[in-house]
Subunit: 472 residues, 2 copies
């Protein structure tokens, strides 16, 4: 079988750049750098991920809203840290038709400053709380670093949940719920991940604290796919989001946000793919089962009937399947669907029809076996579960093998991936470690553990373990 | 029961403006005029309409894509009529962060100029045709007229299908398919409509011809909710969308588009609503059945059990229901759900439980009757069908009563709504009629009928009947 031009194992980044176009996920030829065209196959994949997100949001009583894309400059500037953090990377609208606008508008880089003035109108009393909303929209950031499909783009498909609470503790409960949502969702994408509490100097602009959700790519770099922010009342004060308590006094709300982006696709492409192309987690695969008729002259009808019959049964059981009856060789079909990462291939030939069997082939392992037609739907479901389990296990092994706790700089330098090293709590020491390791500070484990060792930079007592990695 | 402040029958426009906010569809307090916040209830309604559109698109083998929001000025300017038509109503991005852009970008007012340069890369051979794509995105137009929620806004939730064909005839087949899609979709929204071929001077910028889809609002004004365009090769030439034929020669594609917007919501709000609020067509109602427990002390459990049991059964049958167990009076609940237009209300009290019955009340007619619990799901389905049928019939009567064929200007002046009048084919005569009737030219019936009468302006032989109406 032909494979992708670049081998994943040899040059991950180049393989990645190639596969996103070869597998018809996106088209990078749009003339604005970092703004790609979503092709039907890629958009279906994104929609399937969005579907899972909506399912989780509904389950946790979040309500979907849609706020305008454009934000007046005066709205944007109310929270000082926020404007400092984002001011340099927003797009400005200055003209409508031939008129110059009285006030500049910007394209949302994230929606706090569009939503919060309106939240202050929606929330009056403690009975309006908690307010749990989310939206799935495109956001815009003027990235100056090198762009990469789904990973670093300028028009970003984005999920953002925004919640308001009576107090800090209730907002903390929300953070807990968000972590549970992440756990369930990422399990469905077969993606193991780590949660890190971001260092003070690298938290979200305006947040009290930020938890980042990172996955490890096979290149040894981490990819931040989401974040959960506790805002305390940092935004509620400038945007005047307050409520009347039961005893008639007025308090500011405490807020949280939870964001994830199309980087989820970047992660699942990078983690699960191989030299033959994509490998889709069954839960989000646009096509879960592709059915290939193996046709010999004179037997076409029987074989095609069997294929269509199976397709029908799978559809009834809500399994997304497709019969590929194009007039090309089976080998060419295998190649196409392996490239696109369809988790399970079914082959049906005349002999299979006679034996009342079908052949199933796992995309990830290449494992091939005959199964009975009669129980095919049940067996296929099990096969899909097995594939998901294997994808997750392989990814977990990759993460475990490449995340190590060390005590000295020399040890750290020897390792690839994510290292955890004692840290005294000083930014200077973290910066020094970033320089030495040519990496970034990810943050500390969210459940801070006692670390009895010395900071390898200053020799002072460590307050915690701190994580470092090269990042996307 | 309390009603909306303004009566629909007395001041339709004011009633409309009120109801969209009272019923929690949108919030108009966002500080950019014509850019409203979609509240959860309104967004669910829009999503339900989008779901129907996606269903139709899938059925007709269109593939969903997503093209970037931003369009470089040079792309936009390739088709001359198009830039003339839209140039004055686009928003311009001139800066990214603190940098001035080398070339200005605009927010898509519609996506021809974003898509077609890429289509020219996707299409090489006749085997790539037809190319049938669509996207559901937000578009942006700098409206200078008075804005109105869902009807005239500046950020527009928009469906746009774009297709490429081998020749004019194949594109004509697409127009035919589009009309069938409109027929099926609008039937589900209980909206009768008319199709008119736009006059030359009012067709879409760049189109060969435009068919507009209009509905009649109870105010007597028409609302254009969609349009179907035949482009011929008008865009294919400047954007170089060509293909190799079977005999090896090269030809330009012929193209069509089909667009509809959130105006669909404006239409169903306006046409079906009444003095008590919205009336949702069952097919897209966020909640189709609201179940209200009529609770008396000591009997709560039985009643709530019966409510929850029915909710469960309806859910299993894919009917969207909601049990309103808030601690307020049933009367207040009726008011809320009537305002929000839930098509069917179920009331269950202790006596109903004893009699193994439930009470159903149609939102549109107020008709109330007891039905058997045992066959409740089937009966409720029939009730919903009846409601849909009645909504459509009422709207059809409204349209029929307010669309009249006349021969003279005096007759025309006496009528409300849509008039059809003989027309000689000259723009000047149409403009004169617009002035006299204080209305707009809608277009001629799409199947041109012989009209033996004289043009009432110039007295010349009429070529066709022409439609005029006041419009939104």
């Amino acid at each position: 079988m032909p494979e992708t031009k670049t081998k994943k194992s040899e040059d991950f980044n180049e393989w990645y750049n190639e596969i996103v176009e070869l597998a018809d996920l996106c088209d990078k030829r749009y003339p604005i750098k970092g703004m790609n065209v979503w092709r039907p196959y890629g958009w279906k994949l994104m929609n399937n991920v969005d579907r899972l997100i909506r399912y989780e949001m509904e389950k946790t009583n979040h309500q979907e809203v849609y706020f305008p894309l454009l934000i007046p400059e005066s709205f944007f500037k109310k929270e000082e840290e926020h404007i400092e953090g984002f001011g340099r990377e927003v797009y400005w609208i200055t003209h409508a038709g031939t008129n110059k606008l009285d006030e500049r508008w910007l394209l949302r880089p994230t929606s706090e400053t569009a939503m919060y003035p309106i939240f202050s109108l929606w929330i009056r009393s403690h009975t309006d709380l908690p307010l749990k909303t989310f939206q799935i929209v495109n956001t815009f950031r003027y990235e100056t670093k090198q762009t990469r499909a789904f990973i670093r783009v300028r028009e970003i498909h984005f999920f953002e949940a925004h919640t308001c609470h009576t107090d800090f503790e209730d907002a903390e409960q929300q953070v807990k719920e968000d972590k549970e949502v992440a756990e369930r969702l990422l399990k469905k994408l077969c993606l193991p991940y780590i949660l890190s509490k971001r260092p003070e100097w690298d938290k979200f602009a305006g947040a009290y604290y930020t938890i980042s959700i990172d996955i490890l790519m096979p290149s040894g770099r981490t990819l931040q796919i989401g974040s959960i922010h506790q805002y305390k009342d940092n935004f509620a004060k400038p945007y005047e989001i307050s409520y009347e308590t039961e005893d008639g006094s007025h308090k500011y709300c405490h807020q949280t946000t939870y964001g994830m982006s199309e980087r989820l696709l970047g992660a699942l492409i990078g983690v699960h793919g191989d030299n033959k192309g994509l490998v889709m987690p069954p839960e989000v695969a646009p096509i879960q089962v592709v059915i290939i008729p193996i046709i010999f002259k004179g037997k076409e009808k029987n074989v095609l009937d069997a294929c269509n019959e199976l397709h029908k049964k799978l559809t009834e059981d809500h399994i997304r399947s497709h019969v590929d009856d194009r007039e090309i060789t089976p080998g060419n079909k295998y190649y196409d669907w392996e490239l696109k990462g369809v988790p399970l291939r079914v082959e049906i030939g005349p002999r299979d029809v006679e034996n009342k069997e079908i052949v199933v082939v796992q995309r990830n392992s290449g494992k091939k076996r005959s199964i009975l037609q009669e129980t095919a739907v049940q067996t296929i479901k099990k096969e899909l579960d097995t594939i998901a389990h294997t994808l997750f296990t392989n990814a977990k092994n990759l993460l475990d093998e490449n995340m190590q706790r060390v005590q000295t700089i020399d040890e750290a330098k020897e390792r690839k991936g994510i290292i955890e090293i004692p840290w005294c709590g000083n930014e200077d020491c973290a910066m020094e470690l970033e320089n030495i390791l040519e990496g970034n500070t990810l943050g500390e484990p969210i459940d801070r553990e006692a670390c009895k060792h010395a900071c390898p930079v200053c020799g002072g007592a460590a307050k915690t373990w701190m994580r470092f990695a090269k990042t996307y």
